[in-house]
Symmetry: C2
Amino acid sequence: MTLPHPNADQISLPIVLAVLGDPTRLAIVRFLASKEGVPMNCGKFLDLASKTNLSYHLAKLREAGVTRTEAVGTSRLITLRRDDLDRRFPGLLDSVIAAAGEDKALPAVGTADAEIDA
Amino acid sequence: MTLPHPNADQISLPIVLAVLGDPTRLAIVRFLASKEGVPMNCGKFLDLASKTNLSYHLAKLREAGVTRTEAVGTSRLITLRRDDLDRRFPGLLDSVIAAAGEDKALPAVGTADAEIDA
DNA sequence: CCAATTGTTCAATAACTTTTGAACAAAGGA
DNA sequence: TCCTTTGTTCAAAAGTTATTGAACAATTGG
């Protein structure tokens, strides 16, 4: 049930930056930020990558301390660790998300029309 | 004389993040920021990596648009592209540098005693 | 119980990145 | 001119990360 997460003081700046330096993962974080508070399951990101590959990227985000993943039934509820990140690296997440928002070249979730809402 | 640099609007967020996600390069940027305005030559970073390896990392920083490198004689004068980065990604560089400043685990320039000044 | 849904693991491969040493080049001082 | 300083290039090796498909596991609804 409880997947391994670093605690706040173990979160490493270079690792966070490297993890955010991947366009797929940046798109995931951006989407999580846009729905802040609402936990997402992996399926929400299926237009970004294959199921297997998502599993890989979501594990990277979790292990870096960027996201928190809670297992609920067969689902995983994924949230941004904004509190911890803000405490550890003030302003970083906000500036990354703001910059990502401008970026037309970045992949995005739910770009393919049909926003059926969740 | 003029090495290839991206212009400001070509600077890509994921590439900048990935480039800053390397501890050696983060240490270089941190040092440049600490001496802002004073152009540094490659030799200043020799405690971070070998000459060859520095050449590689400094090229990555330049190609990503993080630094500007000017050839002067046999030296290269390296500066942070703070203006362009701030315009493109407001707050990002500052939060990265501030966070890097806290990080005891990061390599640093001039940690081995003998700050003979330059 | 069975089938569907949701996501993981594993091994393989592909693709990239980092590091190295040897050889080179350009500039400047003696 | 010759030597030193400063940095680059190149090819190779080492290491790391991303992507894939097949097989698996757990939960839930019928």
